[in-house]
Subunit: 243 residues, 2 copies
């Protein structure tokens, strides 16, 4: 099989999938193995979920890579986040100007609710950028549930816990299948809206898909009415399906 | 790295991604390498897009696998399709009862608009079934376009060319970002609806993502007003984004 090589001065956004290290694509794995610089976002104590997922791929390199961890404040304040992206883009640009190949590790898919979008918009004018898609948690969730996301003429909408009550209610009322991403802080609100729209029984809850602490609940009435982890989601599927 | 082994009597649905053989996951690649039986849908002349995508992975096996091609009529007639799934499920069940591990190759993701769902519902009661997610053409399209599918509070809906004019119009009017899958036969209708909803300029068109004949048009007004290939889609993205 053709082996994919990272090119000098190119910035790669790599999806590393939802959590299982074996759900990394061959292309992302090969780029992690050969890139000059491996970059990722890190939280305040320096850990990175994306790097954890890619650990096995990083370990299979012949020699260690230079790593750049971009510190990202855990806050909904966009000013702080934008400053962090500015600093990260600057560090990446420095490496690209030296002719280094730089891969940026993204949980799930790089362009699906991802931080990579904010780096891409800062770097794409001056540098060649390429994107390697990854398994999103939406597809990871369907596989874990062994339930189709869509069949034939069903409609399918992806929302997030950041949407308003009105937007979420509309989605739950108007669409057969609804995935609600980033459900952590919004969990009590989402549980109430599922109840109000009569869709509690259609709902499944998943957290940390493909990781050791994976959690799957097909009866969400058993779920505590409190905030949950950031990487949790609801998958609401029309139970009366025509196949 | 831990090497994943196919287990006796287990049926695996494997996503092989949108077209680029390197967008297969490590897990699907390993299962293709070690499964007893490799299974896929084939059209009337015996070709299978999923098998084509997995060719390199199949070639990297130590010894050839038994292959089972399930013939699928190209028709919108559900009766003919259901008969084909019945026959396919029967052939797969025979292998599983012999204690063989069987992988079923799916384009994109197995549970996203996929035929695998119809085999899963026929086999899951009597046999252990596992699903390995794949890169869907939605994520493949975003990477090819280098455009985010969703940012922050944007809403995102996935439709197909099988939806009615009213359903598609509603989606285009009410959601920032809309992907329309299976756009082949419906192309003239979709182009008209994009025009009517004022979203022609937001639309991108992609066909055969990640294959040699990949086609990307960011100006869909240049697209011929005629039927296109089955594996084509429209990605409609709000151009006035707040990042």
């Amino acid at each position: 099989m053709h082996h994919f090589q990272a090119q000098a001065g190119v910035f790669y956004g790599l999806g590393v999938g939802p959590g299982d290290p074996l759900l990394i694509t061959l292309k992302a794995h090969q780029l992690i193995q050969c890139a000059d610089v491996i970059c990722y976002l890190a939280n305040q104590i320096g850990t990175s979920q994306a790097r954890d997922i890619a650990q096995h791929s990083i370990d299979s390199r012949n020699e260690p890579a230079k790593e750049v961890a971009i510190p990202m404040p855990m806050s909904t304040d966009r000013t702080a986040a934008n400053a962090a992206y500015d600093l990260g883009a600057q560090q990446i640009a420095e490496q690209l100007k030296l002719g280094k190949s730089v891969v940026f590790l993204c949980e799930g898919d790089p362009l699906f609710f991802g931080s990579f979008s904010y780096l891409l918009e800062r770097l794409s004018d001056a540098h060649e950028c390429l994107v390697v898609p990854g398994i999103s948690s939406v597809n990871g969730a369907a596989s874990a549930l062994k339930q189709p996301l869509t069949l034939l003429q069903e409609s399918f909408v992806i929302m997030s816990g950041r949407h308003t009550d009105q937007q979420l209610t509309q989605a739950l009322n108007n669409h057969d299948n609804v995935v609600i991403m980033k459900a952590g802080r919004a969990r009590p609100r989402i549980l109430a809206l599922l109840h109000q729209t009569g869709r509690t029984e259609d709902a499944n809850y998943l957290a940390y898909i493909g990781r050791e602490n994976q959690q799957i609940l097909t009866d969400v009435s058993r779920l505590a009415n409190e905030e949950g982890p950031y990487f949790s989601l609801f998958v609401v599927l029309n139970k009366e399906r025509n196949s």
